[in-house]
């Protein structure tokens, strides 16, 4: 891995915040990108990402509708990492938005007091890389007790070959507010591109936030997403990750459950083929008592694709009456596909209910034959069984249009 020539490609990019300079310095000095010697990166090699050459394409979008899952949602569109006013909507009442490159002085203080606080920038190279070189991003505040009826979409579009993007977003859901976000990654003509995303989400007391991460940048691109969340008292946070495409995908999710009475859900589905590699790393950090976390990831893997799932549940001493459940289930459609799945529990409290499980199997041949014997073709039978397998994750998507979109995606993927 040639870190220096990799970083050099970005060093002339502008800085908006002083902390960016610190991050650049850290990267140039001791901070290195992870190798497979690092336990959490054992099965995911980032060499191909670091050793590639990248571009900053200046490109215009001609049409946005093809990317939209539902046109009535409110879109905040970023093209190659930069906010695009032209392709964005006004945010609804109760929501404040500002792009990080153009932030008002009054918001700057708030942003700075939160930005980077959920990461260990001395250790984690990719979040640091993002901090060092991000050009723009969304700062979104959902105001106290606001109930936002329409979904807010952060749409990141990667345009042109070898585009490198450090997408950065900071979301603050204030006390008692309710909101649903879709964070959608799309691409066009972007073979060789790399997206490194950081999203920091603060969910205050009694707030409810859903966050749907939809990854579809294309089969020739790589992405690392880092979603770190801090939950306060009696809040609810749900993340559903849907990986539709990508050559190398690594999703890091870290939930800091800092106060009592929280509910946290981490769901995910991945459908891989070809030489795809999809790695989901989750961390549920139970710091206080009486919280429930629920986790279900399902994968359907074909060809020579490889997958990784590593789910950590940490229950601190103060986190009595924790309920934490985790499950990762996989169907391998080919005998060349592989999955490395590993639950990790670290429990220091004594009054807790934790369970975890993982399964790796094939499509049920008896069920296939049954469906075929009723006249369904192989593909249709396949599709029904995959759909059925993924359904309980898809059912956790509390947005009809998105749910249908994912179902249609499965339909077309398996036909």
């Amino acid at each position: 891995m040639n870190k220096d020539s990799f970083l050099k490609q970005f060093d002339n990019l502008p800085e908006h915040f002083a902390i960016q300079a610190e991050a650049r310095a850290a990267l140039h000095n001791g901070l290195n990108f992870p190798t497979t010697k690092n336990e959490r990166w054992k099965y995911t090699r980032v060499n191909t990402i670091i050793d590639a050459t990248y571009a900053q394409n200046q490109m215009e979008l001609s049409d946005i509708d093809s990317f939209k899952i539902h046109k009535d949602w409110k879109y905040l569109t970023f093209i190659n990492g930069m906010f695009s006013e032209q392709w964005s909507d006004q945010v609804p009442d109760g929501v404040e938005f500002s792009s990080l490159s153009n932030i008002s002085d009054s918001d700057k203080g708030t942003v700075l007091s939160k930005m980077g606080t959920l990461f260990n920038l001395k250790q984690d190279a990719f979040p640091s890389l993002n901090m060092a070189y991000f050009l723009d991003g969304a700062y979104i505040k959902v105001k106290r007790n606001a109930r936002i009826e329409t979904s807010i979409v952060i749409l990141n579009i990667s345009l042109g070959e070898s585009q490198a993007i450090n997408a950065r977003n900071l979301i603050h859901v204030e006390q008692g507010a309710e909101v649903k976000f879709v964070h959608q990654f799309e691409g066009q003509g972007n073979a060789g591109a790399f997206t490194n995303s950081v999203c920091e989400i603060f969910v205050d007391d009694n707030a409810k936030a859903d966050y749907y991460l939809i990854e579809d940048e294309g089969s020739e691109t790589s992405a690392i997403t880092n979603t770190n969340v801090s939950q306060k008292k009696d809040s609810r946070f749900t993340i559903v990750t849907v990986t539709k495409s990508g050559k190398l995908i690594r999703n890091n999710i870290h939930l800091s459950i800092t106060e009592p009475g929280c509910e946290s859900n981490m769901m995910g589905v991945y459908f891989t083929d070809g030489n795809q590699h999809v790695d989901n790393q989750t961390y549920a950090d139970h710091q206080d008592h009486g919280c429930n976390s629920n986790e279900l990831y399902k994968g359907v893997m074909a060809d020579r694709s490889t997958g990784v799932f590593n789910g950590k549940i940490m229950v601190h001493k103060a986190a009595q009456q924790t309920n934490a459940f985790q499950s990762n289930q996989n169907i391998l459609l080919s005998d060349k596909a592989t999955i490395n799945t590993k639950p990790e529990l670290e429990i220091y409290a004594d009054d807790v209910k934790c369970s975890h499980g993982c399964t790796i199997g094939q499509l049920d041949e008896e069920a296939m034959f049954y469906l075929q014997s009723r006249g369904l073709g192989k593909e249709a039978a396949h599709r029904l069984l995959v759909q059925a397998f993924a359904q309980d994750v898809i059912d956790t998507i509390d947005l009809v249009e998105l749910k249908e979109d994912v179902e249609e995606f499965i339909d077309s993927k398996f036909s």
Partner: protein, 253 residues
């Protein structure tokens, strides 16, 4: 074309074990053939081979269904051509709705015959009618395929599906086992309503009781992979009375 199904010297084995050792059978339109025989004699194997399960090495001089080479067809083609197997052990398929899957199955068959999708209205009418016919509780039709169904409900669901798919040849593999007396009557009535000049049945059973309701034209005894005796419906009575020992003696003699 006089025969719906012609089987000549059908043999099937699995991992070198010969299970079917030369079956001959002809089924004409409208006929009901009962197949009886001791456990393990090969009845389910015969129905699986006919439906197209690919676990077996299959050889035959001829197996034709409606004039076409059955063994050449994929399971789904066999179904679309009009073959239906009511399974001895219907599979549970969590997450796949009975109704959606049946609709897909009906449409697959319609496309095969050059027809368009069935209309939502016609489909629902048909569901109601056929459900009533086998007295299948309406909530079962909406649930996942066989998931959590009782043994009897699974069997009713098989006949319900058969009624929906309107096959030319229905193979019922021990549909009566697991049914209580009332359910047996209901299911038999359902099958009888489906009987017609252009629909045939192969009814596999251990009990002559079923054959009092679904009166067969022929009864065959399958023993160690061969049909060793055929007769009219009285043969079933005789078997009920005397068991299989006399057949074994006849075969061995």
């Amino acid at each position: 074309m006089s025969e719906y199904l012609t089987i000549k010297n059908l043999r099937a084995s699995i991992e070198g074990n010969k299970i079917l050792k030369g079956i001959n059978l002809e089924v004409k339109p409208g006929e009901v053939h009962a197949i009886m025989g001791p456990n393990g004699s090969g009845k389910s194997t015969l129905s699986s081979v006919l439906a197209g399960r690919d676990d077996y090495e299959v050889e035959a001089d001829e197996v034709t269904f409606l004039g076409k080479d059955l063994l050449e067809m994929e399971p789904e083609e066999r179904s679309r051509e009009g073959l239906f197997l009511a399974f001895q052990y219907p599979v549970e398929i969590p997450g796949v709705s009975n109704i959606n899957f049946l609709k897909a199955a009906i449409n697959a068959k319609r496309h095969h015959h050059g027809l368009d999708d069935i209309s939502a209205k016609d489909f629902m009418t048909m569901v109601k009618e056929k459900q009533a016919m086998v007295e299948l509780k309406s909530n079962l039709a909406n649930r996942s395929v066989n998931e959590g169904f009782s043994g009897g409900e699974k069997k009713r669901n098989e006949i319900f599906q058969m009624a929906m798919l309107e096959p030319k040849l229905g193979i019922l593999d021990e549909t009566d086992s697991g049914l209580d007396i009332d359910a047996l009557k209901i299911v038999s009535n359902g099958v009888n309503k489906l009987r017609s000049e252009d629909r045939s049945f192969i009814v596999i059973t251990h009990y002559q009781r079923l054959l009092e309701y679904i009166v067969p034209d022929y009864v065959h005894v399958l023993f160690e992979g061969r049909i060793v005796k055929s007769g009219g419906k009285e043969l079933a009575l005789e078997l009920e009375e005397k068991g299989y020992d006399w057949i074994k003696e006849e075969v061995e003699a």
